[in-house]
C-alpha cells in the first residue's frame, strides 16, 4: 500500500444537472498540509467542487479520496472534514458552546472529551469569554471565529472554507485573513478555500486553482499564476487593474502590431520553436515603466494621457496604444493631467504572449 502524501485527491469528477454540466472530468491533487485556494468568478463551479468534497453534493461520476480513503459515498460527517460557511451558519438557538459541541455530541463523544476540545478551540480562537452567548449577541468577526471553531473541535485533517470572509467589511476581512493564515501555519492542516477575491487568494494560498466553467484553468503558486499565466483568461482574471492586451502578429522573434513593433528578445517562450502566428501581447499596468525607470526598459514609446484616476498609493493613467485603451500604473505622487505626453518603457521579459486563436501562452 502506498503511503498517501496527498491529502485530498479528486479523480475525473463530473457533476451534471440534466443538461447543465457544472463540473467536467475534474482532477485535482492537494498535498498534505497545503493551503489550496479555488478561485474563479461566480458560476465557475468552485463552490460546487467544495460541496462535493464535503459530501453535501453527490457527483454524477468520479471519485474523491481523503487521506487515501475513498469517501465518494460517505456521509459528510464520516469524511474527516470541517467546514466554514460564508453566512457562518451558526445554530441561532444554541450558545457558542452548544454550537461547538453539537457535532461532537452527535458523534457520541464522552462529555469530558467534548469539554476539553471546546476549551482548546476557544483558547486558540480567543473566544473563551463568548462561550455562553447566543450567536445573535456576537459581531460578524466573532461569529466567523465561532464558525471556524466548529471546524476546529472536530480535530480533522481537512478544513473546507466556502467564501468565509465575503460577509465581512473590508477592514475585518483583512484582519481575519491574517488570522486564518496564522491558524494554518500553527495547525498544519490541509485547507481548501473557495473565494472570488484574488487578494485573498494571492495572500493565503500555497497554490491557487483558477476555475472556469467546471474546469481548472491553471493550478500553480501565486507567483506562477501572476507572472506566468497559462492562458489569456487567467492573465485577465488575476491582477487589478487588469492586464493590457495588444493584438498583433508574432514573426520571428518580434511582436508586430498596428503602428509599432516590439523585439521579444527577453521573453521566455514556452516552447523552443514557436511558429509565426497572430498573437496577443499582455502587459500588466504595473509593469509599464514611467519617469526615470524608462531608461532601464528595453522598449520605449510615447503615449498621450486620456484620463487620470488617482487612487492614493498609486495613480492609474489611461492612454491609447494601437487604438485601444491602455492602462499604466504610476506612483501616487506623479503629477499628470489629461493631454500630457508620457514616455513609457516596456520589458518583454515581464510580458505574456498568447496565441490569438487558442488564447494559450506562447
Amino acid at each position: 500500500m502506498l503511503v498517501p502524501n496527498h491529502s485530498v485527491r479528486i479523480r475525473d469528477l463530473t457533476l451534471t444537472y440534466g443538461a447543465i454540466t457544472v463540473l467536467r472530468d475534474l482532477n485535482l491533487d492537494i498535498h498534505d498540509g497545503e493551503f489550496l485556494v479555488l478561485l474563479g468568478s461566480s458560476g465557475c463551479g468552485k463552490s460546487t467542487l467544495l460541496n462535493c468534497i464535503a459530501g453535501l453534493l453527490e457527483p454524477t461520476d468520479g471519485q474523491i479520496f481523503i487521506k487515501g480513503r475513498n469517501v465518494t459515498w460517505l456521509e459528510p460527517s464520516e469524511r474527516g472534514i470541517g467546514m466554514v460557511f460564508q453566512s457562518y451558519a451558526l445554530y441561532p438557538q444554541m450558545t457558542v458552546r452548544g454550537n461547538l459541541s453539537f457535532g461532537l455530541k452527535n458523534a457520541r463523544m464522552a462529555q469530558a472529551e467534548i469539554e476539553a476540545r471546546v476549551a482548546k478551540a476557544a483558547r486558540i480562537l480567543q473566544i473563551e469569554p463568548l462561550l455562553d452567548r447566543k450567536p445573535a449577541a456576537l459581531s460578524g468577526g466573532q461569529r466567523q471565529r465561532v464558525a471556524i471553531g466548529r471546524a476546529l473541535v472536530r480535530d480533522v485533517d481537512v478544513f473546507l472554507f466556502d467564501e468565509p470572509l465575503s460577509n465581512l467589511d473590508a477592514k475585518l476581512r483583512a484582519d481575519l485573513r491574517v488570522e486564518i493564515k496564522r491558524l494554518h501555519q500553527d495547525l498544519d492542516n490541509t485547507m481548501i478555500y473557495v473565494t472570488h477575491d484574488q487578494v485573498e487568494a494571492m495572500t493565503l494560498a500555497d497554490r491557487i486553482a483558477i476555475m472556469r466553467s467546471g474546469k481548472v484553468m491553471q493550478l500553480g503558486t501565486p507567483d506562477e499564476i501572476y507572472n506566468r499565466p497559462q492562458s489569456k483568461y487567467v492573465a485577465d482574471f488575476i491582477g487589478s487593474p487588469s492586464m493590457n492586451f495588444l493584438d498583433g502578429h508574432y514573426e520571428r522573434g518580434t511582436f508586430r502590431a498596428e503602428g509599432f513593433q516590439i523585439d521579444m528578445a527577453g521573453y521566455q517562450l514556452g516552447a523552443p520553436q514557436v511558429a509565426d502566428r497572430p498573437a496577443i501581447l499582455g502587459i500588466r499596468p504595473e509593469h509599464v515603466a514611467t519617469g526615470a525607470l524608462v531608461n532601464a526598459a528595453p522598449i520605449k514609446g510615447e503615449v498621450t494621457v486620456d484620463l487620470v484616476e488617482p487612487m492614493g498609493a498609486d495613480t492609474l493613467v489611461w492612454a491609447q496604444v494601437a487604438g485601444k485603451p491602455f492602462r499604466i500604473r504610476m506612483d501616487g505622487q506623479a503629477r499628470v493631467v489629461r493631454g500630457d505626453r508620457l514616455t513609457i518603457g516596456i520589458d518583454p521579459s515581464k510580458a505574456s504572449m498568447f496565441d490569438a486563436k487558442t488564447e494559450e501562452r506562447l
Partner: protein
C-alpha cells in the same frame, strides 16, 4: 507521473466501500416521513378522482358497481331542469363574484395603501368575516334579508313604504342575495392579497411616477395593475376554485329555495349521492364540476408555469 497516479488510484479504490448503498434506502427517513404526503397525493387526489370519473360511466344507484352504462348518466344529467338551474346559478354567481371580488378587493387595498391612519383597524374590520364559516355567514344574512323583520321592514318603517328588497324570497334574484353574503365573507381575503401585492411594488416606481408628474389614478391603471398581474391571477384562481365548491353557504342561507331556484352543482351532487341514492348521477355531476375546474386551471397553469420555463 501518470503511472504513479493510476497505481495509487487503484490502491485507493480498494479501500472504498464494497457496494454503493442501494438507491431506495438512501435518505430512508426522508422517504418514510414523506409517505403520508405521497399516499394523499396518489391514493386520494389521483386515485379517488379517477375512481369517481370511472364510476360516472356506470349505472350505480344505492351502491357503486362497475356496470358499464356509457354516457347515459351524462345524458340524464343534461336533460334534468334542476341541473340547468344549478349551472345557470353558478355561472351568474361565479362571473359576478369574480368581477366584484376583484374590483372591490383591489379598490379597498388601494385605499388602504394610501398611508392612511387606522389602517390596521379598518383591515381588521374588513377581514373578520373571512374567519367566519359559510354557515354563520349564510344564517346572519338570512336574518338581515328577512323581509318581514330585516332590512326591508326597517327601511319601510323609516317611511319608504314601497321599498322592496327580499332576494331570498324571490326566485328571480335569490342568487344575488347569496352573492351579497359571499362578497361580505370573501372580499377581505382578496383585499389582503392585493394589499400584499401593492406593498410588494417597488417604492421607487411611485417616486418615478411622481417626478414624471403622472396622476395617481393613471399610475394605478398604467403601471401598478399591469405589474400586479401575477397577484390578480392568483386571486382569480382562488376565487374560482372557491366558487365551484360553494355549498355550505347555499345550504345555510336558502337551502336551495325558494322552489329550487338557488340550486348549485355542489348541492346537486350531494343530493344525488346521499339523498336520492343515485350515485351515478352524483358522479357524473361531480365529474362535470371537475371539468369546469380543469377548464379554469389549464390557462392559469400555462401562464404561471409554461411562461417561466421559456423565460
Amino acid at each position: 507521473m501518470a503511472t504513479t497516479h493510476e497505481a495509487s488510484a487503484i490502491a485507493e479504490s480498494r479501500a472504498a466501500p464494497a457496494r454503493r448503498p442501494m438507491r431506495l434506502f438512501r435518505n430512508l427517513s426522508a422517504k418514510i416521513a414523506s409517505l403520508p404526503m405521497v399516499l394523499v397525493a396518489v391514493v386520494i387526489f389521483v386515485g379517488c378522482t379517477v375512481w369517481t370519473v370511472v364510476h360516472s360511466f356506470t349505472n350505480s344507484r344505492l351502491l357503486p358497481k362497475l356496470e358499464w352504462d356509457g354516457l347515459s348518466q351524462y345524458e340524464r344529467l343534461w336533460s334534468t331542469p334542476r341541473w340547468y338551474v344549478s349551472i345557470e346559478n353558478l355561472a351568474i354567481f361565479g362571473i359576478l363574484s369574480m368581477i366584484f371580488t376583484l374590483a372591490i378587493g383591489f379598490v379597498l387595498a388601494a385605499l388602504l395603501d394610501r398611508k392612511i391612519r387606522g389602517e390596521d383597524v379598518i383591515r381588521t374590520i374588513i377581514l373578520y368575516p373571512f374567519a367566519l364559516s359559510f354557515v354563520v355567514t349564510g344564517l346572519v344574512w338570512q336574518w338581515i334579508l328577512n323581509p318581514e323583520l330585516g332590512l326591508q321592514s326597517v327601511v319601510r318603517s323609516w317611511g319608504w313604504q314601497s321599498f322592496t328588497f327580499d332576494p331570498l324570497y324571490d326566485a328571480d334574484i335569490v342568487i344575488y342575495g347569496i352573492l351579497i353574503a359571499a362578497l361580505w365573507q370573501g372580499t377581505g381575503l382578496i383585499m389582503c392579497i392585493m394589499l400584499a401585492g401593492l406593498r410588494g411594488v417597488d417604492e421607487e416606481i411611485w417616486k418615478a411616477a411622481k417626478i414624471d408628474g403622472i396622476p395617481t389614478w393613471k399610475t394605478y391603471t398604467h403601471v401598478i395593475i399591469p405589474m400586479m398581474r401575477p397577484v390578480f391571477v392568483t386571486s382569480l384562481v382562488l376565487i374560482a376554485s372557491g366558487i365551484v365548491k360553494v355549498y355550505d353557504l347555499v345550504i345555510a342561507q336558502t337551502g336551495g329555495g325558494p322552489g329550487g331556484s338557488s340550486e348549485v352543482p355542489a348541492k346537486y351532487v350531494m343530493d344525488s349521492m346521499f339523498a336520492a341514492q343515485n350515485l351515478g348521477q352524483g358522479f357524473a355531476a361531480s365529474t362535470m364540476m371537475l371539468l369546469s375546474v380543469i377548464i379554469i386551471l389549464i390557462p392559469w397553469a400555462y401562464l404561471e408555469f409554461g411562461g417561466k420555463k421559456r423565460g
